[in-house]
């Protein structure tokens, strides 16, 4: 089973300098942050999907389709519950369904989905070593940057271990679906404990193996792969700056907000 999101391709995103990739992720996050209106968020979603298609990362988007749905739909519904602004269109107990709450819920759902999508694209086109280099060039201490990249690598391993634990407990007759919402959360204790203990053990083994291979010996390790900034990187950098500036202007002009009626 493939445990990383990285897709081996030679696309324009893959060829960018790691620092530009990290900056790109930041610029997209920045743009998403400033706007709430789904109309202002939709072009970003389309842009991200176009990039996904161009860099050959649609397989990851498809692979994680349920994850996207599980994140976006509950976010939308939750905000319709709490964003009680505007004239209700229909009456459903507990929910406040108005044009504004629908727009806001949809906007929040899109926002979360786009943040996840941008991260998936970033990981699809960036090797963990590049991420470490990118973070370190942006001023983050190497040790911290490397630890973050390692966490990215470990998440899928823990997911795999969690699936095995769920199987093991189910085979002992355990029903994960019994009871109400809170009871169901509590019923995951027999999964969380073994996964957490396994993660601790793995982290300990990894720490030993890392140190034994000299990790931490120098503050600025050399790099096996040479990364050089080129004209392509300069263009990408300028475009990303423009994107960030444009979406800030959308916010500043008030077009990014939800009209309350």
């Amino acid at each position: 089973m493939k445990t990383t999101l990285y897709v081996e391709r030679d696309s324009f995103v893959h060829r960018l300098h790691p620092t530009v990739k990290v900056f790109g992720l930041f610029a997209v996050f920045w743009s998403i942050y400033w706007v709430d209106n789904p109309v202002a968020l939709t072009p970003l979603a389309l842009l991200l999907l176009a990039v996904a298609f161009a860099m050959g990362a649609m397989e990851n988007v498809y692979r994680l389709r349920w994850f996207f749905i599980l994140i976006i739909v509950p976010t939308m519904l939750t905000w319709m519950l709490f964003y009680r602004v505007g004239r209700p269109l229909i009456h459903i107990p507990l929910f406040h369904v108005s044009r504004a709450s629908l727009m806001f819920g949809l906007g929040r759902g899109l926002k979360v989905g786009e943040l996840v999508l941008a991260s998936v694209l970033f990981l699809s086109g960036t090797k963990v070593e590049e991420l470490a280099v990118g973070l370190s060039r942006l001023g983050m201490p190497y040790r911290l940057g490397f630890t973050i990249t390692l966490a990215f690598r470990l998440v899928p391993l823990f997911m795999e271990s969690a699936l095995t634990v769920v199987d093991a407990q189910r085979l002992r007759g355990y029903d994960f679906d019994a009871g109400g919402a809170f009871e169901r959360v509590r019923r995951y204790v027999p999964v969380v404990v073994p996964v957490f203990m396994g993660a601790l053990r793995k982290a300990n083994n990894m720490a030993m193996a890392l140190e034994a291979r000299g990790f931490g010996r120098t503050r600025r390790p050399t790099s096996f792969v040479e990364y050089r900034m080129g004209a392509r990187d300069a263009v990408a950098f300028a475009l990303l700056m423009a994107l960030g500036a444009a979406w800030f202007m959308v916010y500043y002009s008030g077009l990014g907000a939800i009209p309350v009626r």
């Binding site: 199987d167 193996a209 000299g214 990790f215």
Partner: protein
């Protein structure tokens, strides 16, 4: 083919590595972990000459890994405690050094190969340690090639390490250590998690390194693998209790066994026959035995499978099968076919070993039997019922599955709660739960640990606890996935005694394993899988008589069984072989 010579040439050109004199000196080394009263190491003294290979054996908890970790300062830097005594590498004391400073001096290859790989390409994995040294790129390139060549991974530079086989991953971890050109390489049970093919690959590499004069310290609890060491050491409760050339230590069979080490089967056979000495190889053992038994037959070149002299009933009993698998195929979504038209049935009271290389479909087959997966085509019947109509949780009382890693299920605060978890899920009455817990804890020898925290038990105890918590539901079939992985010989024997007793009480056993001796000594039927098909299904003795099939499947028979083939018979244990030879006169 691995080529260690190229790496050696490069390494020797590195002036620091020229072997001369003492590689390692350990003087009066003692260590106790924090929060434990018992010392993990007691006054260890050891001198290793440059180019020497030392094998370290002992039970779990004997102090083997603790000793290894003291050499590169993981102890006391990362795992604290009270350390006394000195360690010198090439004459220089290590006191005060940080672990990362020791990297170019002591290379360490760990058991858990997954935790040693951090990079996205094979070449980068080897480069990782060199980057940490601040090495120039040109020098890195000069080192990476020979290191990968040495472990037989040249040509795979751009591969993702996660896509390699277990044996390849461990060889990659070794290449990463070789590139550092350390003075000593320490292997801490490097093949425990590997299949027989991966195991053979790693030990072949260790032998090559030894021939090239690299200083090696190899920790292992299968004595057979350390036969070619210059010297072996036996550790027990933190002390060296035997030390010397393999011929001197490996003939002390009772001592080895009492220290949790699997004694070499060939030496056991020689001893049973009253022949003094140490069998360095199968050929050597044969020569010694033929001197004593000059009339013993010589294997003919005829196909031997139908001529096995010892006959035993191996076919499944005629009772209605508990599990019937009919023409089952399976593929994971988007992947190639993992099982291809498999037929198999398991009858009550059987003891079946399912063997095959990693990726041959063993675990997938087991998951289909327990209902975690559904077949793509074909049918599975469980006790006469269509498996597809039964929920996996609902059939836990018919068929139990013990995962390879007991830590995938242990979560409760006490041993008793852990065992009671299953019966509680089925809503059994408290009195009944109590009765069953008492019964199974006694069966697995944990009756005195009822109130203990399961996380503080040894690996062997945790494995037995995992069996108990599945057994408590009284399944008719018990599937065990590698039940002895990571256990020392004593714990392995104990686990297998338990499994045998269960089988004798009527539970059908299906055991997935890589260990040839477990198949030979315990199973009564073997199912060999390759490429998603069953290519053999029959008696154990019949299986070990198929020399060509064994070779093709990379499954190595126990040494005694291999020896018996040279005499034209199939003996599964040293005792059986000795009896057979005696029957032919001395």
């Amino acid at each position: 083919m691995p080529d260690v010579k190229g790496w050696m040439r490069e390494a020797e050109a590195d002036a620091r590595r020229v072997p001369a004199g003492e590689a390692l000196a350990v003087e009066d080394l003692s260590f106790a972990y924090h929060d434990t009263a018992r010392a993990a190491l007691r006054a260890i003294n050891l001198i290793q000459s440059a180019g020497e290979m030392i094998g370290v054996m002992g039970a779990s908890g004997a102090g083997k890994s603790t000793l290894a970790k003291c050499l590169n300062r993981i102890i006391p830097e990362l795992e604290g405690g009270e350390l006394r005594g000195t360690v010198r590498i090439a004459g220089r004391p290590t006191a005060g050094a940080r672990v990362h400073q020791m990297a170019p001096e002591v290379g360490m290859v760990f058991q858990d190969f997954e935790s040693q790989l951090f990079s996205t390409t094979v070449a980068h994995e080897v480069a990782f340690a060199l980057e940490q040294l601040g090495m120039e790129r040109g020098e890195m390139l000069r080192r990476i090639g020979p290191a990968l060549e040495a472990v037989g991974l040249a040509g795979l530079e751009q591969r993702d390490p996660t896509s390699l086989s277990g044996g390849q991953k461990q060889r990659l971890a070794i290449a990463a250590v070789l590139a550092l050109r350390p003075r000593i390489i320490v292997f801490d049970e490097p093949t425990t998690d590997l299949d027989p093919e991966g195991r053979a690959e790693v030990f072949a590499l260790i032998r090559q390194l030894r021939e090239q004069g690299v200083s090696l310290l190899v920790i292992e609890h299968e004595a057979e693998e350390l036969q070619r060491s210059d010297r072996v050491m036996l550790l027990n409760e933190g002390s060296i209790i035997a030390e010397g050339p393999p011929s001197a230590v490996m003939t002390q069979l009772d001592l080895l066994e009492s220290c949790g080490v699997h004694p070499p089967g060939l030496n056991r056979l020689l001893k049973l026959l009253g022949i003094e000495g140490h069998a360095q190889s199968i050929e050597h053992a044969e020569t010694e035995i033929r001197k004593r038994f000059p009339n013993a037959p010589i294997a003919s070149t005829q196909p031997p499978s139908r001529r096995t002299p010892v006959s035993d009933s191996v076919r499944p009993p005629s009772a209605a099968p508990l599990i019937r698998i009919e023409n089952v195929s399976f593929s994971y979504p988007g992947g190639p076919r993992v099982l291809d038209g498999v037929d198999l049935s398991i009858a009550p009271g059987e003891f079946v070993a399912i063997i095959g290389q990693n990726g041959s479909g063993k675990t997938t087959l087991a998951k289909l039997m327990i209902g975690l997966l559904q077949p793509e085509s074909g049918k599975i019947w469980l006790d006469g019922r269509d498996r597809a109509t039964l929920h996996s949780a609902a059939t836990a009382r018919d068929i139990g599955y013990v995962f390879q890693n007991p830590d995938h299920q242990i979560f409760a605060a006490t041993v008793e709660d852990e065992v009671a978890f299953g019966p509680r899920n089925f809503g059994l009455a408290p009195g009944e739960i109590e009765r069953r817990c008492t019964e199974v804890l006694r069966a697995v020898g944990l009756e005195n640990e009822r109130a203990s925290n399961p996380f503080l038990l040894s690996k062997g105890q945790r494995q037995r606890l995992a069996v108990a918590s599945v057994l408590v539901l009284r399944p008719k079939v018990l599937i065990l996935d590698e039940p002895t992985t990571g256990l020392d010989y004593r714990e392995q024997r104990r686990m297998m005694r338990l499994v045998t007793e269960l089988n004798e009480s009527g539970v059908a056993i299906v055991m997935i394993t890589h260990a040839p001796w477990l198949v030979a000594e315990y199973a009564r039927r073997v199912v060999l899988m390759r490429g998603g098909r069953t290519i053999f299904d029959g008696g154990v003795r019949e299986f070990f008589a198929h020399d060509a099939m064994l070779r093709a499947s990379s499954f190595r028979a126990p040494e005694v069984t291999q020896l018996s083939r040279r005499f034209g018979t199939v003996a599964l244990t040293p005792e059986e072989m000795a009896n057979w030879l005696r029957g032919r006169g001395g």
